[in-house]
């Protein structure tokens, strides 16, 4: 029975199948929200209100010709999308959506899984850089360098921000952090600055407006993805969607009290809470213009990082006071 559970966990929920289906749904929600904010309809034709559009896009890209440039480093060029997709799918397994029990530690829920998920979510950025480097194109090279510059800007505030709830709960295990806040829901309000920083940093990690600097189409065409097409581009697109789900899931687990109640209520909580995060992300990209890379870096070091540090100080003092 346990073996079956593990297979279900790996392949169905929250493994491959769920992440694929749910990430396309989240992309659809994001596109619909973005369209509503812009006074448009968004996708309408594939499925009811265009709900199948992301899947149709994926299938279309999969069927397209897959071109590898002559001058590209072919092995790296082909390996990078798979590497990046694998890392976010693995990160998805660490989400505490269906924890067998809080006490029992498994391969997907253990002390320190918070660090591992943050690490796995950072890997795609390196993959983008390698993709840009392997493409041997001017636009890709600039895009790749911008990915790294952006990484240095948002990664530290991101880590500092997810540190605060962990310090408050006194654990490095997401399931335990979530359980701590489920027991004391009011404590969630303490982390409001860290939540804001984490959401902004997630937006930057996902490279969406106002932080879509690495693949700003009017400047560097497609950035690191300029030379990618067909299946590999489809993989990159899918991985960005899954990254959004996993990132939103991580933030929901840390800052919004996780997903209590076992399989079915937990699933509903997961959908509701990730959609809250996705709503914020969609609203953010509707009301802003793209920043320049230097503006982004100074913004994260002048505002995001100090804010996250301030939050950390608040949490440490409050924790001392509460004990």
């Amino acid at each position: 029975m346990d073996i079956l559970k593990i297979f279900l966990y790996l392949l169905v929920y929250p493994g491959l199948l769920f992440l694929f289906v749910y990430s396309t749904f989240v992309e659809w929600i994001d596109r619909k929200l973005y369209a509503k904010f812009q006074n448009r309809m968004g996708p309408m034709y594939t499925g009811s209100h265009g709900i199948l559009q992301p899947i149709a896009d994926f299938v279309k890209l999969m069927a397209k010709e897959d071109i590898v440039p002559d001058k590209a480093d072919k092995k790296l060029f082909n390996a990078v999308p798979i590497l990046a997709l694998t890392s976010v799918l693995t990160a998805g397994l660490l989400l505490p959506v269906w924890h067998f029990s809080d006490a029992f530690q498994s391969a997907t829920s253990f002390q320190g899984d918070l660090i591992v998920i943050a690490y796995l979510l950072a890997l795609p950025s390196f993959a983008y850089f390698l993709a840009g480097w392997a493409s041997a194109s001017m636009y890709s090279a600039i895009g790749g360098v911008r990915v790294l510059t952006l990484l240095f800007a948002y990664e530290v505030p991101m880590f500092l921000a997810i540190l605060s709830p962990a310090v408050m709960a006194g654990s490095w295990r997401m399931a335990e952090i979530a359980a701590y806040y489920q027991a004391n829901p009011w404590y969630l309000l303490i982390n409001v600055f860290a939540f804001a920083v984490a959401v902004v940093a997630l937006q930057a990690k996902l490279e969406r407006v106002p932080f879509d600097i690495p693949h700003a189409e009017t400047e560097v065409v497609g950035g690191a993805f300029t030379e990618y097409s067909g299946r590999k581009l489809a993989m990159f697109r899918l991985l960005a969607d899954i990254q959004m789900v996993v990132g939103a899931g991580m933030i929901a687990a840390l800052f919004l009290g996780g997903f209590p109640g076992g399989l079915i209520p937990g699933f509903i909580w997961f959908v509701v809470k990730t959609l809250i995060v996705v709503f914020i992300l969609a609203a953010m990209r509707s009301v802003t213009a793209r920043l320049r890379i230097d503006q982004m870096v100074s913004f994260s070091w002048k505002w995001l990082a100090p804010l996250a540090l301030l939050q950390l100080v608040i949490v440490i003092f409050l924790k001392g006071y509460l004990q």
Binding site: F37, V209, E217, V287, A289
Partner: protein, 395 residues
């Protein structure tokens, strides 16, 4: 990263039409910029010499999709001067009205494009939605959304009735209510202002020296506007309006100038619609044009548009030369791009509202040895054939 050349164009997402920039880039900074024109040459000037005046009118309208009416107006004005005919007042007023409506649709379009270039697509969607209002007015008046075909020698081709005037006034009132919102966003939304304030600065002295045109120069504090300085159509003594200038000289100033010009255009349109003189809309024009030459100009949305027309007494012109405002703005653009960031290239380029199909008409090719020569049709054709044969393509 050392200095390298970043090509923008002939095909690039930031360009809506083909042109070719070569940027010397050091990291994220543009060290030098170079421009190659001529990818969109269509031979319109030569084509004009082989058609009659009335056919040329419609050919020249197709010089540009955005400022089609201006080219038609300028050509019609010039030929009227050669013919020695004076259109009736009502015709002139409708001519002005078309020009202003066209300016409104073009500026709304530009505001959206500027938003898109800095990744602010919501702004783009909003302005383009409101642009539909003015497009509907244009369609109601002329029957078309892009090439209106309204001007003719001796006046305009379609009249307005009471119903149309009322509908147009309603539409303009709606736009008038919406535009301050865009001016507010353009001048105060933090991320947008961060991207356009202090970017692509063109000081007043440079604007004059490099002969920039239109809103680009008015945003640098030069109060030049053909509508005021060399009044044409109904503008002379009849229609009141102000020239909008701004001292900023950067992209932000160009956004502000264009948004304020929208307000001025609404006022002009309202004035014309409310004070439309009675009478005919056109006088009959002769088919043949007496010998002579004329320079005709008008204020297009992008700046001063000039046509030179030389007639030889037949029904076909001897020479037509078109100078679209974009051509005047290129030297200033290169100046603005130097020393900026790679990320600012699209918005600085877009800030002059470039129209490349208006501008491209080169037939001079510089060979590597530096000898300039004019290529005629035969050599050009032979060059093309040889070019493909050398690459193993059978023709």
């Amino acid at each position: 990263m050392s200095t390298f050349i970043l090509p923008v164009g002939p095909q690039h997402p930031a360009l809506k039409e083909p042109t070719s920039f070569r940027f010397m880039v050091d990291g994220e900074t543009v060290v030098d910029a170079d421009l190659r024109l001529g990818y969109n040459h269509r031979g319109i000037e030569k084509g004009c010499e082989e058609r009659t005046y009335i056919q040329d009118l419609y050919l020249l309208e197709r010089v540009c999709g955005i400022c089609s009416n201006v080219h038609m107006t300028v050509f019609a004005q010039g030929v009227e001067k050669l013919m020695g005919i004076e259109p009736p007042k009502r015709g002139l007023f409708i001519r002005c009205l078309m020009g202003e409506l066209e300016r409104v649709h073009s500026h709304l379009l530009w505001l959206g494009v500027a938003g898109h270039e800095v990744g602010f697509d919501t702004f783009f969607m909003y302005t383009w939605r409101d642009r539909e209002i003015v497009e509907d007015i244009l369609e109601m008046i002329s029957g078309n959304r892009v090439n209106y075909g309204m001007q003719t020698f001796g006046g305009v081709r379609r009249d307005l009735d009471e119903m149309q005037i009322k509908k147009a006034l309603d539409g303009i009132a709606a736009l008038k209510a919406r535009t301050p919102y865009y001016l507010n966003i353009g001048a105060s939304e933090p991320t947008l202002v961060a991207r356009i304030a202090g970017v692509g600065v063109l000081p007043k002295a440079k604007a004059l020296e490099l002969n920039a045109a239109g809103p680009t120069t008015r945003a640098s504090g030069v109060d030049f506007d053909v509508r005021k300085d060399d009044p044409y159509a109904g503008f002379g003594e009849h229609i009141p309006f102000n020239i909008v200038t701004d001292e900023g000289g950067d992209v932000l100033a160009r956004v502000v100038v264009r948004a304020k010009e929208l307000m001025e255009s609404y006022n002009i349109c309202e004035y014309i619609l409310k004070n439309l003189p009675a009478g005919d809309i056109r006088v009959k024009a002769p088919r043949k044009v007496p010998e002579g030459e004329v320079v005709s100009r008008a204020e297009a949305q992008r700046g001063e548009c000039i046509h030179y027309i030389r007639s030889n007494g037949t029904d076909k012109p001897d020479r037509v030369k078109v100078r679209a405002p974009t051509l005047a703005n290129w030297p200033a653009t290169l100046y603005m791009l130097r020393g900026g960031y790679v990320a600012d290239i699209p918005i600085v380029m877009a800030a002059i509202d470039p129209c490349l199909s208006c501008t491209d008409r080169m037939a001079i090719i510089t060979d590597p040895k530096g000898n300039e020569k004019v290529w005629n049709w035969e050599t050009l054709r032979q060059y093309g054939i040889d070019f493909y044969r050398k690459r193993g393509i059978k023709l």
